[in-house]
Symmetry: none
Subunit: 225 residues, 4 copies
DNA sequence: AATGAATGAGGGTTCATTCAT
DNA sequence: GATGAATGAACCCTCATTCAT
């Protein structure tokens, strides 16, 4: 590693200090996400966030003007504009809609549920009323688009005769509620409860999605197409 | 006026002040529940709780040695030990198990979901990791018994051939997840979001429970007994 | 002093704690005035003010919501509505106007210049631009009325033929400038300079006022009436 | 671009950067004077000074080891050691002493009162007690010599029979007080007060000096020689 | 020489908790 | 028991100062 100094650097690789500077906001947001999820906004001390990011208290405020702005940045940073991309992914999906639902659940688990991003969901449910504006933003940027996405999938099933007629405004929650429940459990209760009570996420999701699919499929014999 | 003290009072009609005195802890717990649910534990000020209960700051600490103990008391007080009683209620339930599930949901909504007690659930999910011991207590006193109760009902359905074979450890969450989701939404997002996005709880619960029943019922033609 | 406890108290004399409560704001304002004058607003620590008033840091904020409000209260508290009373005093003054000017100077010295209230003047000149709103208030409540008062006295001299015609808008400063200079010197330089340079206020004021009276009196022989 | 360094430059026309380099301390002192006068020492941030001087925070500390030293340098730099030169100017003054006083006032106004250097006076009166040593220095380098200069002028008037006998220790303040008052007003209150209350400096100084001259002149008919 | 990222002591403010009344 | 004035530890945030680049 000391040899580094003698190795020519391309223009893309900035000097150490500069590199750190660019990395700082991300490191701080990472640390903040973890701590906010674990302890809540109010109970998390700014200095802790800084320490976990490996910097001093003052440095945090070099990048975020206040603890509240840090919180908002954490949420914003982790709210993906990924729904559009996903929409397209599902637009071109071939195969039956039940598989689409299964695939949707898996993608969600891989990209959100099983990542640190899932902490944002926990955070929003816990802190929503202390941050009404960020909650409104989250609702509009995450909740509404997510509902739309699910709704479009279910509608496809109905349109193709795979699913029965559904009260669509509420049917979406048959998909969403199990996701939220899993996240809340994972971030809240699980860490405080004996290991034997832990959920196996894959098995949990499988169980939930199959029950729901069973519940909404159209075939009179209950079999799925 | 000081003579008041020496005037005999009947036991049946205690003077207002005395009645209030006995009610104090309850009023404080009520106020605390509301505020903890609304703003979180850390962001709720002890003085606010006292003020909402109509007493002074000092009085709060007369009844609860610390804010933490107040929190724990709030949880303890609002944890229904009613599962045993409910168990018996269901023990003697006559009729098919699908109706039993519907009835179970309704009872829960009337006695928990639609009351201030539902705030405890929100509270536990939000604050769990800051109160590991009370979380463990809650898990043992609420979650495990509730799971057992649901499990017994589902098992009855399976035993009677009404429901198909279920992965019972996870099937219970098909009932529980919609409940938790409803509560979290009601206490977190709903107050920050335009009215038109509000859930109609009855319609929501109906939609969820029917889908699940559809999903787990045994009849090959998909009809429920 | 311990005997105090056994001496009957009238209703007007509140219990110790209560008496202190009423005295607190005044004690704090006193302490704050001294320190703000001595060190300036920014360099004075809230805790110092509290300590000098014999209370803890927290207590200060029980009475004043912020250091800035404390500053404003200090100024407001020491800005007398005394000009009206003085006006009337001078309205009924009998004797020649030169004596009136001398009397005015003496009254000012006794009631303002030689008291802690003179610190306010120092404070305003030092901090004016950091507190534009309080400065505007001070201008309107103190400077303008004071100018008016002086002006009325000088005008009386002119009207009675005792003083020559004066550029009245500026003549008032012949009285005011020596006052301000004395105060600024007393609070700023004097404490940092060897004793032998100290001004003797009475002699200073006498010297200034007699020169000015000499300068404005009407008698062609330079004698005052 | 790195080759620049090796390209010879003539001494007559130094590159812009070099010229600026030499000017740095002066630019910093200028910026500091303005800001210290405007906001006070404590409320002025080092970074602001640097920014106004067009350099970075670090550069400030290259030239001045601390903010305090910067303050002291500002005072030192702006203290004219011109009293000696002025003394000589007045030594050779021909004409009556009243005109000498008028000329003195004008010279002061042109070279100090009406320039940024007047800020130093404001600064000293505001910050004196936080910088006792620099205040002592200022007293010795500015106040005492200035007093001497005025005193010598007044003494000339007395010696030549133009002025009456004066309490000389205090008579000097008849000249100095109006100057100080003008400066304090200009830097403190004027910027916070409606335009119509602004002093016209020339008219103000004229009014003050004529009144004083009137007050100290010897001619029994009140006329000045 | 110049920069500006990083530091951390310092100070304003909050609030759970105490205790004299 | 009830009150609310007082406390002081804790926490957010600022900014003079340092130092790697």
């Amino acid at each position: 590693m000391p040899l580094d100094k003698f190795i020519a650097r391309t223009d893309e690789a900035p000097a150490k200090r500069e590199r750190r500077k660019e990395a700082r906001p991300g490191e701080l947001l990472d640390a903040a996400l973890d701590l906010f999820v674990e302890k809540g906004f109010a109970a998390t001390r700014a200095e802790e966030v800084a320490a976990r990011a490996g910097v001093s208290k003052g440095t945090l405020f070099l990048y975020f003007p206040s603890k509240e702005e840090l919180f908002k940045a954490v949420v914003r940073e982790n709210i993906s504009g990924r729904f559009k991309e996903w929409n397209e992914e599902f637009e071109t999906f071939e195969g039956n809609t039940a598989d689409m639902v299964r695939y949707c659940m898996k993608v969600w688990w891989d990209r959100i549920g099983n990542t640190r991003a899932s902490g944002i969901t926990k955070l929003m449910f816990s802190e929503a009323r202390n941050f009404p504006d960020i909650t409104a933003f989250y609702h509009q940027e995450v909740i509404v688009p997510a509902n739309m996405l699910i709704r479009r999938i279910l509608q496809r099933g109905v349109d193709r005769g795979e699913f029965r007629e559904l009260d669509m405004d509420y049917a979406v929650f048959s998909i969403i509620a199990p996701m939220i429940f899993l996240i809340m459990t994972k971030h809240s209760l699980a860490p405080c409860v004996p290991r034997e009570y832990a959920l196996d996420p894959e098995r949990y999701l499988h169980s939930q999605v199959e029950t729901v699919l069973n519940g909404i499929c159209a075939r009179p014999d209950g079999k799925r197409p």
